[in-house]
């Protein structure tokens, strides 16, 4: 059997090496548009910030592919799939036949339609070549457009490199997809305490400069700078699938076995549209742990098993300097257009903050900063198990918090965390 994998990211690599680990004798080929062995995009900000050497970002070495007998075709960007002849064509014009095809080419940086975005000094921060270019770039004043997880991490890295950094966010609070305004406001203050300016509710109009970047003009001010980092989000790569006649929505549509609308073609990773494992709603959480879990399901199905994918988990952390925050499940904003009673549990102690979103008696999401974040795992577990908060409250009232033998310690800790009457 010939297995062809498009993309050498987290998902693609996991499928290839997962097949070999399971003892598959299939002929495995990975088509990579890039020129390096597999690396971890999550590691890039730390390489850029000088916290780890460049070689630490790699998840595999060249010899890993040789020993595992996996053919890695670098610089081969897949441009077309011909499902009839079971063949993938690359930009160089070569054709790669397959029996089973795995689409794991991820997504690409969303480039906003801003005038001057092609000027010298404008960088992405998604792939290793982006980080390498930023590493070579010499500048002193940087503007980061977008304040998602990548934007904040890039801002911290640049600050550590000695840049004066300004983050611009078009929404009214930073990390808008991950945190509620209440939590994000606290994070913004901490970001500013670290010397990074964060401008929210501000729109970038154009990037000025003759050849190189000289300033960023927003709807409120002009910020002189010599470096611009785009952290404006990732769009799933669907063109390759769409042109082949594969069903696509926001991402590539798959069934619970992660097979696309064309039999024998699977998809996993950032290019896939999937469901939230907790709610069953459509979701696009482009996160590493989901890519890994999806890749493992695809691997098992390629091996002939019938594995189904339960859905993706929303879990992310935000970390800059000595600030640590975590978010899981839905934000308040994401629950606002739904029916059902909403209860927000908030706790605050000094700089630390906890916010748990309870809908119809079940935890649906939460955010925490500092000490409260250390117990996030308990809350995430309760969310995954759909544990009833009123039932927990009743059990605590009935059984009390006496010594062992009444309630499991995790339950008691959870009750304490949520401030339920004991």
């Amino acid at each position: 059997m010939r297995v062809l994998i498009v993309g050498n990211g987290i998902a693609g690599g996991e499928v290839a090496f997962g097949l070999r680990r399971a003892g598959s004798g299939a002929e495995i080929t990975i088509l990579s548009a890039e020129t390096t062995p597999e690396y971890d995009p999550c590691s890039l900000p730390y390489y850029l910030g000088g916290e780890v050497p460049r070689e630490r970002v790699f998840r595999r070495r060249w010899e890993d592919y040789r020993t595992a007998g996996i053919r890695l075709e670098t610089g081969e960007k897949a441009v077309a799939i011909d499902p009839a002849s079971r063949c993938v064509r690359t930009a160089s014009g070569r054709e790669h036949p397959y029996d089973r095809l795995v689409l794991a080419h991820g997504g690409s940086l969303f480039v906003p339609p801003i005038a001057g975005i092609d000027k010298r000094g404008v960088h992405g921060c998604k792939q290793l070549p982006d980080a390498d270019r930023l590493d070579r770039h010499r500048g002193s004043r940087a503007v980061v457009i977008g304040s998602g997880a990548i934007g904040i991490e890039a801002a911290e890295a640049l600050k550590k490199r000695g840049y004066a950094v300004t983050v611009i966010e078009v929404m009214d609070w930073i990390l808008p997809a991950l945190f509620d305004p209440e939590t994000a406001g606290r994070l913004k203050r901490r970001l500013e305490r670290c010397g990074i300016a964060a401008l929210t509710g501000e729109k970038v109009l154009r990037i000025e400069g003759t050849e190189a970047v000289a300033a960023v003009v927003t709807d409120r001010r002009t910020i002189p700078c010599d470096t611009v980092v785009l952290a404006t989000g990732v769009v799933p790569g669907v063109e390759l699938a769409r042109t082949a006649g594969i069903d696509v929505g926001r991402g590539i549509r798959v069934n619970e076995r992660l097979e696309t609308s064309l039999p024998g073609i699977y998809a996993c990773g950032d290019c896939v549209e999937t469901v939230d494992a907790c709610t069953g709603e459509d979701a696009m959480f482009q996160l590493k742990h989901n890519a890994l879990e999806q890749a493992r399901v695809v691997t098992r199905n390629l091996l002939g098993a019938s594995a189904s994918y339960p859905g993706a988990w929303a879990f992310a952390r935000a970390h800059f300097f000595d600030t640590h925050a975590v978010t899981f499940g839905k934000t308040t904003r994401a629950t606002q257009c739904e029916l059902g009673d909403l209860e927000i549990v908030e706790r605050e102690a000094g700089d630390d903050y906890l916010r748990v979103i309870v809908k119809e008696g079940v935890i649906v999401g939460g955010q925490a900063i500092g000490r409260f974040a250390d117990a996030a795992g308990l809350l995430i577990g309760a969310m995954w198990r759909r544990e009833s908060v009123p039932a927990l409250r009743a059990r605590r009232a009935l059984l009390g918090d006496g010594p062992h033998g009444t309630l499991a310690w995790t339950t008691r800790r959870l009750g304490e965390l949520l401030g339920l009457a004991g």
Binding site: A373, G377, I380, D401, W409
Partner: protein, 170 residues
């Protein structure tokens, strides 16, 4: 290679003396500093007991998947440990952990978890320190749930078959 082992926690026996923390930090860092311990005694308020918390080395460990530096790795001994050179101290492993088990080293912010004292031929440091209370027990992998079931059944025996009552089937 040392024999694979697990550490079973019998929380009912824990008195909260924290000798395990001292022993662990002594064993791993040569200093009696509970903040550096890989096992942590959690005190449950208001008056309700103590629980020693340590990495369970989950079979499908979530920390392995969320670490941005791939610093969480499964050692040959079955333990899940942090490679200190790779860890950047982001605490993702701590936040995803269902027990909140990873400890954050005070000096560099990196996480550390129980390695089952893999290099130690005898009992792990914490288990040795807990000999009086017996809240910690070194067992073979898979043995912990079996022992827990047996102990629970033994505790129920006097309730189900009070002393002086006739034996079942006799």
């Amino acid at each position: 290679m040392a024999e694979r082992r697990e550490i079973r926690v019998i929380a009912e026996r824990c008195t909260g003396c924290r000798r395990c923390e001292i022993a662990c930090s002594m064993g791993h860092c040569g200093m009696p500093t509970p903040e550096r311990s890989r096992i942590r005694v959690l005190r449950l308020p208001p008056e309700g007991g103590h629980v020693p918390v340590l990495c369970q080395a989950c079979e499908d460990a979530p920390c392995l998947k969320v670490c941005p530096m791939n610093a969480r790795v499964r050692a040959e001994t079955g333990a899940v440990i942090t490679e200190a050179e790779a860890c950047i101290g982001c605490r993702a492993c701590l936040y995803i952990c269902p027990y909140g088990a990873p400890a954050v080293a005070p000096e560099d912010g990196k996480t550390v978890t129980c390695d089952r004292c893999a290099d130690l031929p005898g009992a792990p440091w914490c288990v040795a320190a807990c000999r009086d209370c017996g809240a910690l027990e070194a067992v073979r992998p898979g043995e912990a749930p079996r022992r827990a079931c047996r102990d629970a059944a033994a505790a129920l025996r006097p309730v189900l078959r009070p002393a002086g009552s006739r034996r079942c089937g006799s």
